[in-house]
Every structure is written in C-alpha cells, then in structure tokens.
C-alpha cells in the first residue's frame, strides 16, 4: 500500500511536460559519489489485513491490566466524546495554524485551553502547550533565568526524578547551575531553602503534590523564594489534584509547569504527553512557544490568531525565547474538550480520586504495609514492605502493575513503593487486589 495515484501513463506524460526522460533524471543533482538507488533493507510490504494481525499480536505482548501506577502518567477515564471529536480529521490532519482564515477551529480551541489552564493554575497567561512536563520544566527554568538575570536554580528532590534528569541535561547544555534541595519526611522545609539561597538564584522549583504524592506547604515555600528575590516555579504532574487543592497561583507561585495528560489523553507508553506552561503577566515577552490571541477580521467579526510571534524562532532565530516550533496541539484539544465536558464536576472526580487512594492506603496498611511519610496526599502515597519484590512479582503474574519501586530513584527507599488509585480502580478492584496479596503472603 503506497497511497500514490500516479499511473505509469501519468508518469510518462508528466516527465514529458518536465522535459526529462526518466524519474532518475530528476535526481541528477545528487552526485555520483553519493550513490543512487542502493538497496534499502526493509521487511516486505504488508496488506492492511496483515498489518492488523501483526499489530494486534504486538499489542498483545504489552500488559495493560489493573494498574496502580501514577508517577507522572495517570490512568483516568476518557469519555467517548473526547475520542469522537478529536478524531475529526479537520483537526488532526491540519498543520500549525499559520493561515488563521482556515484554522479558526484549532485557534479557538487553543484559546479556550489557555483560558481554562489559567483558571486551574491561578496564572495570568498560558501558552499553547509544550512537549511534556519535563521539557516544560526545563523551559520554565530557562524563562526564569532570562527574566531574573541570575544563573542558578534550587530544585527540590521531591520533583519527579525524570523531570530533574531532563532539567540537568538542559542545564548542562545551557550553563545553568542546579542546586538540589533535600527534602525531610517527604516534603520541603522552608528553612532549607534559605540555606541554599543567594543572589545567584533565579527560582525555586517544587512539585505539588510532589513525587511521593505528598502535599507541600506552598505558601511557606513561596515566602522563602520571594524573600530571596527568586521566583517560585511549581510543577504539577497530576492536574486532577487541582480539582480539590488550592491553585499554585493562589499560594504564591510565579510560574506553573507540568503535565496535562490526565485530562483526556491516554498513557500511550509515555507519549505523546501535554506540557503545560503558565505564568504571571510579567513573563509575557519571555514566554516560549505558541500563543493564541483574540482579534477581529476585516468585517469586525471575532477571530483568533497566533500572536506575539516576534518572540519565536522563525522571526528572532538565535535570539528567540526558545527553539520550540510546534506545540502538542491535538493533546491540548483533547484536554480542553475533557475540561469542558467535566466542567465543575472536576471537583467531585478529584474528591473521588482522593477517597479511593485513601481506601487503598487503609486496606494495605491493615495488611502490614507501613506508611513512609505522614503528610496529606492526593491520589498517590508511599508504603514500605519487607519483601516488596516478592509481592510485586506474584502480582505481576496476575497481571497487576503494583506501584513503582522507589529504590530506582531514591536508594534510601529501597523497600518502598509509590502507589496510585484513580477512578479506574473501583473499591471492588481494590478489594480483589488485597485478597490476591493475602494469598501470596
């Protein structure tokens, strides 16, 4: 299957119009030393039926059942409406909306996305989205460094380890100093920020709820950051939490970045995701990425358009605010449809997540698991157990994915698991999990 409609007759006539004899004549500029038409070693082509069989077989070798894993990607129910609308090919087969007269659908949806993300995060401005949570943190740090003209950032070790690794990669390349803030008992202490603070620090980065699932005391942390004349960057990896928790903006954050996958996007083995970057008004000219603004057309009708493009790479080139070109348009569309569909019932759904996680934690503690941190949590928490690997491998045989072993990232928490419950884990699912564990002990 090659999706080409030129027939041999067409090709012959077209070559005649061009004035060459063969297709290879069109490639005459490629020097002989490069070599033309070498064999490409690829598997034989498949029909659609064969491809379907192959992919069904490959997909069958992935295990997707009964997950109690969060850690940056969350399993939430995706209403049928989201898939249905996002499958409209007027949306998904379009490019970046460079011609606003034929892109009002994409532009309006992004404008709505910007509006709703501002409301949930308590920020003034939001861009049209970034690649994922980790790169949006890196961009947030670069934005803070550019705005503050100071070259260091303080980053809590309770920020998602992968996000910190990506930030390290970007910071090494861009010459930014990262100072790691050690947490105590699963959360940041304002006094420890003061110890690392000096006039080289442009921002303090914390995550809420943090990687351990714990709620941080953002108000205290914001005070510590601001008294050092640094910005507070708050990372949010589980936006569902904003249904019941105070927004970062309300608690003093200057920049909010993180992951929007929870809203209407599948886990997809970790991609595509939806990077969120929102900030206070003062960052407007420093903001990376696309921004959609409201305007009018020649008749005075309301219309939307990409705006403030003089910040961007295609105009400013090496002096741009970022090299980012695209956003994650379709993921942002899915999230705005999701947020519109849920409306204010987001609060009830968030509360349900919290209650299910509380129930899961209680049942496991009753069986002998030990809570590692005594902090308020949203839908994730950390438990330890003497023989965690034995339980996990027994559960794996029953096709359970039982938490993320924390020892991978924090050697001092070798026997601990980061566990998560969402509305996809019903009380009956949790009871079944508990009885399977009981049988293995």
């Amino acid at each position: 299957m090659d999706y080409i409609s030129n027939t041999p007759g067409d090709i012959e006539e077209m070559l005649k119009v061009i004035g060459v004899k063969s297709i290879d004549d069109l490639f005459a500029d490629i020097p002989a030393s490069v070599g033309l038409n070498k064999k490409t070693a690829l598997p034989a082509p498949l029909t659609e039926i064969e491809a379907g069989d192959l992919l069904t077989e490959i997909a069958g070798r992935n295990c997707v059942l009964k997950s109690f894993i969060g850690a940056g990607v969350y399993s939430h129910y995706i209403p049928a409406v989201v898939d249905h609308l996002a499958s409209r090919s007027e949306f998904y087969t379009a490019y970046t909306p460079y011609q606003p007269e034929v892109s009002q659908g994409t532009l309006t949806a992004i404008f709505e996305f910007q509006t709703l993300i501002c409301r949930l995060t308590g920020m003034d401005i939001t861009n049209a989205s970034m690649y994922d949570g980790a790169t949006s943190l890196a961009e947030a740090v670069f934005m803070a460094v550019r705005s503050g003209n100071r070259n260091a950032v303080i980053v809590s070790d309770t920020v998602h380890p992968h996000y910190r690794q990506v930030l390290d990669t970007y910071s090494r390349a861009g010459g930014i100093e990262v100072r790691t803030l050690k947490s105590k008992n699963g959360a940041v202490t304002a006094g420890d920020i003061d110890m690392l603070m000096d006039d080289a620090v442009s921002a303090v980065v914390v995550q809420n709820p943090n990687f351990f699932g714990c709620c941080e005391d953002l108000v205290e942390i914001a005070d510590a950051a601001h008294s050092g004349k640094a910005y507070l960057i708050t990372v949010v990896t589980e936006p569902m939490s904003l249904g019941i928790l105070k927004s970062p903006g309300e608690q003093g954050a200057d920049i909010v970045c993180g992951e929007g996958q929870s809203f209407g996007n599948p886990a997809g083995f970790g991609g595509p995701l939806l990077g969120i970057l929102a900030a206070k008004d003062s960052f407007l000219r420093k903001m990376p990425g696309r921004l959609v603004g409201k305007t009018t057309d020649a008749d005075g009708t309301e219309a939307y358009v990409l705006t403030l493009q003089t910040r961007e790479q295609h105009i400013r080139r090496d002096r741009a605010t970022s090299n980012i070109c695209t956003n994650q348009g379709l993921c942002a569309l899915r999230s705005v449809i999701y947020m519109t569909l849920l409306g204010n019932t987001l609060r009830e759904l968030a509360d349900l997540n919290h209650r299910l996680a509380s129930y899961l934690k209680r049942r496991l503690v009753e069986m002998g698991f030990t809570p590692v941190f005594e902090r308020p949590f949203f839908n994730e928490f950390v438990l330890s157990f003497d023989d965690v690997e034995r339980v996990r491998s027994a559960l794996r045989n029953d096709c359970y994915q039982f938490g993320v072993p924390l020892g991978r990232y924090y050697p001092e928490h070798e026997n601990s698991l980061l566990l998560c419950a969402t509305e996809m884990n019903s009380p009956a699912d949790i009871d079944r999990l508990v009885s399977v564990i009981e049988q293995t002990l």
Partner: protein
C-alpha cells in the same frame, strides 16, 4: 460519578484545599456541537491539497490511526515492568533499525518529541563530543536558507551562530565556507535537500571541508521525503541528523503536534545518545538501557512520542522498500511537474530541476499584489496556502510542496487556480488584496492581536 460507598478519606488540611473550581458547565450535546462546528472552520489534508512547503503535508493513512488506538498501545503505562512492555519496546527498536536502513546512520534514538527537539538534542551531542575530545569550539555554521529552529537550537547550548551565504543558484558558497571554517567551528547544520528544494551538488565537498577541520556535519532531515530509498544521508557525509516522522513518515500534524523528531548518528557519536536506549538481548527480549556514562542524559519525561512512532512504524511496514522509494520518486515528480507548469506564470528565482519542493517569487505580479495576497486568495479556490516568505533569501517567497499523495488531476486544478489568480491580479487586484472571501472569517487582523494581547476569555 459512580455512587461507590467509601469510608471517609484521609483528611487534607483546609489551608491546602480550594472551595471550588472555576470551569464552565456545558451539556454534553453542546460540547459536541461546539467542537463539531469549530472543526468545520478548519482545513486539513483531508479537506484538500495542502502544499505547505517544508511541512510535507502528505495523506495520513487511516490504518495508522486505527491501530494506534489499540488498548495494548494506548493504555500502556510507561513505568510498567519491562516484561510487560515487550511489544512497545520492539516497535521502538525496529523503527530505529528501519530509519537506519533508510538513512544509513548507525543508530537512532526515538526520544525527541519534535523536529526542533531533535535538533536541540543533536546540538547537545555535538557539544558533548567536543567536551569528550577536550576541544573548546564555540561556533556552529548554518546557511542563510536555514529554518529558524537551527540557530535557535544552537543558541540554547551557548554556541554562536554564523551564517554561510548561498550562491545565486542555491548551493552553499564554497569559497565563503572555506573562509569561515577554522579551529573554532564545531559543526555546520544543513538541510538536505535544502530549503530551496535543491540538492546541494557540493555536499561531499562541504563534508570534506568540515571533516578535515575536525568539525561535525549535521543534517536537518525535514526534507527527507525527497530522497528516501534514492540516496542515503550517511553517504552524503553527515554525522548526525533528525527526522520529522510527522512529515516524511505520514503521521498527522494534529494542528501543530504531536510530532516526533528521532535523531540518528554515526558510530563515533553513538555513546552520546540520550537515555534510555532500547536494546535487544540475544534471546530476543528488549530492555531500556540507562547506564550509559557518556550519554548527554535524558531529554523527555519517558520515551518520546511513542504513539506517533507507532504510526510511522505501521507506515514503513505497509510500504516496504519499494513503496518508500516510490513515495520519494513521486514526491519529486509531482513537484517538478508543478514547477514546469507554474514557471510559465510566476517568477522562478533559481531555474533548476527541484527535489520535492520549489520556491517561486511574487516578482512581476502586477498592481502591488503580494505573496500574502496570493496565499489568501488560493484559500478561496479550496487549497491550503503554500509556505510564504520563507526561505528569507528569496524575496516574496512562495514555497510549494505537493507531496506524492496528490493526484495529477489535483495538481492540474492547483495550476489552474494559480493561473487564475495571476490573471485576477491584473484584472481585479483589489479583490485579490481583500481575499479570502469564502472562508469562515475574512482576513484576520494580526497586528491588533499583537498590539493589545488578549490571551484568554474574560467575562
């Protein structure tokens, strides 16, 4: 909301909790109607020909969309145990090997989430390479025809950008290049074929000049759709490259993403690739290798845009080697056919056979009708506009890339529309300058939007 009977939850202090959220309550049917009506104001590849140069807006096969939604792929959590994601790792591993087969590059990483992300990752690799051999080089060269992302990616890593001029017939100016290359030059980035849609006839000479100087040669692979199965990027002398799966390998652009920007490297740069790297054991099982001490580090939350990679994997499996070559041959054929027919009516600054795209100019269009006016007017004829005012070195550039999936009939209709606009510029220029006339909104005022930014809805 399910009516589950649950005990009280662990309390969260009131100081941490909100008293409500401020979203908008709309009925389901109104949500469906709103976004359905919005979609009708959008133009996609499925709506009509989309000759947006440099963007390769080819048809997005529906079979790819169908199988990317299988639960075994879409619902797979990235942190499951490695035994539970063997299928996904196989897709990433095999796709990397297919891209190696097509380009000749030794090893690919699927981590970068977009072309610009692939460029940035590659520049980090270039930086790491020179740190590794303990040479301090501060300059990266780009031609004056480069995409804006090239200099922007270079600047993030603290390199200085210097522009190499092009000759009148669109190749890199070799004498100017020789004068710029010295011990401070880390690399040169070149789009191949270049952004004028031309294959640089001196590509080997450029590679030799750089390599003799100890510099690396980077290929911006945005235009790979011209040479798949015809010529290998590694054979052109490049050391590192990125590919846009959303251009060359048919994955949809999504209204501006998600794309995917895998990078490929020659053997001596392999150890610097971002972590994790998907590896295969002799027993046929796959694993993620993060223990690579020379790696630049991690560049994505997890493993890149997996579901996008999956669609590209399906595309390559369905086309095979002959289909891949046929795609490039027909892309180049279609472009040259349009070029041959349109150069009778529009100015062609560089009169050469093109590769998969070509650049016209608005020189000679009468009555002050500009490239922008032509782009707006073509919308009234049911086509998307070409890329305009890029590359920067052509005045009033109109960059046209038809792709291989357009039929000859469609190409002929596009030619007739472009000819008609040229006549309208003569007979009714004011009408052309006010275009478009048939779209959901009329010409949009971008200047006011930037002067007084309104970036969210305020009641």
């Amino acid at each position: 909301m399910p009516g589950w009977d649950l005990p009280d939850s662990d309390p969260i202090p009131a100081a941490y909790c909100n008293t409500g959220v401020d979203l908008i309550d709309v009925s389901e049917v109104d949500v469906v109607r709103h976004y359905t009506n919005l979609s009708r104001t959008n133009f996609g590849v499925d709506s009509g020909m989309y000759p947006l140069g440099s963007c390769t807006m080819k048809y997005n096969p529906k079979v790819n969309e169908k199988y990317a939604t299988l639960g075994g792929f879409a619902d797979l959590h990235p942190l499951v145990d490695v035994s539970s994601c063997q299928g996904a790792l196989e897709v990433l591993y095999d796709l990397a090997s297919y891209l190696s087969a097509i380009t000749g590059m030794k090893r690919f990483s699927m981590m970068p989430a977009a072309g610009a992300h692939g460029e940035l990752t590659s520049v980090m690799i270039i930086q790491k390479y020179f740190q590794d051999i303990k040479e301090d080089r501060r300059i990266i060269l780009t031609p004056d025809s480069a995409h804006g992302t090239n200099p922007a990616s270079v600047a993030i890593c603290g390199f200085e950008v210097k522009e190499v001029p092009s000759t009148a017939d669109g190749d890199v100016d070799i004498e100017a290049l020789r004068n710029m290359v010295d011990g401070n030059v880390a690399a040169m980035m070149l789009t191949s074929p270049n952004t004028l849609g031309l294959f640089d006839r001196n590509v080997h000479l450029i590679a030799d000049i750089l390599h003799e100087n100890g510099s690396l040669f980077y290929c911006d692979g945005a235009n790979l759709n011209a040479v798949m199965g015809k010529a290998m990027v590694a054979d052109m002398g490049f050391d590192v490259m990125h590919i846009n799966l959303h251009k060359t390998f048919s994955t949809p652009h999504g209204g501006g993403g998600p794309g995917a920007g895998p990078i490929g490297v020659v053997e001596r740069l392999e150890k610097f690739l971002p972590v994790p790297v998907v590896e295969k054991r002799s027993d046929g099982s796959y694993y993620l290798d993060s223990e690579r001490p020379d790696s630049i580090g991690r560049v994505h939350s997890f493993y890149g845009n997996f579901l996008v990679c999956l669609k590209a994997y399906i595309y390559i499996r369905m086309l095979g080697a002959e289909g891949i070559r046929g795609a490039s041959e027909n892309a180049v054929l279609n472009a040259n056919y349009l070029l041959a027919r349109l150069k009778e009516v529009y100015s062609l600054p560089i009169n050469r056979l093109c590769m998969h795209e070509f650049v016209l100019s608005d020189d000679g269009v009468p009555n002050g009708v500009t490239t922008n006016d032509i782009a707006k007017r073509i919308l009234d004829y049911g086509f998307h506009a070409p890329t305009v005012y890029f590359p920067l070195l052509v005045h009033g550039a109109i960059m046209i890339e038809p792709t291989e999936t357009e039929s000859r009939d469609t190409l002929d209709r596009f030619v007739e529309a472009m000819k008609a606009i040229r006549l309208e510029a003569q007979s009714d220029p004011d009408m052309v300058k006010r275009a478009p006339h048939t779209t959901a909104v009329k010409r949009v005022d971008a200047v006011s939007a930037a002067r007084k930014p309104v970036l969210k809805w305020v009641p």
